[in-house]
Amino acid sequence: MERIPILLVGEFLLVSIQVDLHDRLALALQDDLTTEVVKVRAKGVLIDISSLEIVDSFIGRVLGNIAALTAMLGANAVVVGMRPAVAITIVELGLDLSCLRTAINVDQGMAMLRLLLRPVASQGSDESAEK
């Protein structure tokens, strides 16, 4: 079956959804991503949906699941590039995606993932400085 490619960039996983996402494919992405997070011990996951023309209740739920699952596995997830028309439609549909971390574009999403790692890192360096 066709799969959505997952890229490893540094300690982050990158996914750009470029195809019309059918339900099985969305579920496969959810599985693949969680497996991959564990395998490479990724610290973060960035999902670029700037090519997605719709997010309906099913795709929305899959995005929510991915965020919840990666959080359980100790990684942060950020969804970037949602189109205005898609965002307006989601609000009208009544889909609550407030659990998602979002950013305008890939650059800002990456910056966000790095920022989220920093408190832990600086805490570590503080501790080592104290010793």
């Binding site: 307006i88 979002t102 305008i104």
Partner: protein, 289 residues
């Protein structure tokens, strides 16, 4: 009554094409004398000559009683383009219909001349020609109205967009100062263009200033909150400012359904908040003296 004999209109038209064209042009120029600024005589001549050609071909090929048949497709297309261009040039519906109706006189004159000897056939052909040209005229008017409605709709949209400028206040900070009455359609246009500007500029803070909006009803408050929710989904934060106390009440009430929204009393407060969010500090330099 229409006879089974093929109509002679096509033949008359072909034989006197040039003369009919000249008479028709004169009639049109008389009708449009005040409208020289809208269309040049050369353009009118070209359009008229083109039309006579296409019209003649259709008369030869098709039945003269039904302009919905394929033979009349070129004529319909031609009239469609004329109506569209005249609608955008600012012609009135009757002026546009005149293009077709003014063909009656010259055409009738030549039919009368040709068929003077045969009263019965003259009556038939005059009847056929009248019905035919009336149909084409009506068709043109209908098309004109549709085209005109489209023009008006587009102008309205353009005006809406013009009246709501989205400005970039700072790197990463956009603002829309809303002034005047907000109806549902305008709110929608504003919000869509705000969200698009967020993407285009990569801004993550958008300030909506409603100081200049006299009344904000529940529906508009709801639209503003929906926009804030949509912005958040896109990765941006919306701040609504210029809110009077009673509107603030409504917002808080509705906010339960659409998630928290940041509100501030004034644009200055909103900007201060935005600066803090993006990690900018504003400081006053020590006075020189």
């Amino acid at each position: 009554m229409p006879t089974n004999n093929p109509s002679r209109i096509a033949e008359i038209l072909a034989r006197h094409q040039q003369a009919i064209l000249e008479d028709w042009l004169l009639a049109q120029l008389a009708a449009f004398s005040a409208r020289h600024n809208l269309i040049s005589e050369a353009d009118l001549r070209r359009q008229s000559a083109d039309f006579i050609g296409i019209f003649g071909t259709a008369c030869q090929a098709g039945t003269l009683t039904d302009i919905a048949t394929p033979a009349w497709q070129p004529v319909r297309d031609f009239l469609a383009s004329i109506s569209r261009s005249r609608a955008s040039q600012g012609f009135s519906p009757s002026e546009t219909a005149t293009f077709v109706f003014s063909l009656k006189q010259p055409l009738f004159a030549h039919i009368r001349q040709e068929l003077a000897a045969n009263a019965e056939s003259l009556a038939d052909e005059m009847w056929t020609a009248t019905v035919l040209i009336d149909k084409l005229g009506l068709y043109t008017t209908e098309l004109f109205q549709t085209a005109r409605e489209e023009v008006i709709k587009r102008q309205q949209m353009e005006m809406l967009e013009l009246s709501t400028p989205v400005v970039k206040l700072w790197d990463g900070i956009l603002a829309v100062p809303l002034i005047g009455t907000l109806d549902s359609a305008r709110t929608q246009v504003v919000m869509e263009s705000l969200l698009q500007s967020i993407v285009d500029t990569g801004s993550n803070i958008a300030i909506v200033d409603i100081t200049g909006v006299p009344t904000v009803d529940t529906l508009i408050a709801q639209n503003l909150l929906k926009t804030a929710a949509a912005a958040r989904l896109m990765g941006a934060q919306c701040i609504i400012c210029g809110i009077r106390p009673q509107i603030a009440q409504t917002m808080v009430h509705l906010g339960v359904a659409f998630g928290e929204v940041v509100t501030r009393a004034t644009l200055a407060d909103a900007l201060a908040f935005a600066f803090r969010e993006i990690g900018c500090t504003v400081s006053r330099q020590a006075p020189r003296n």
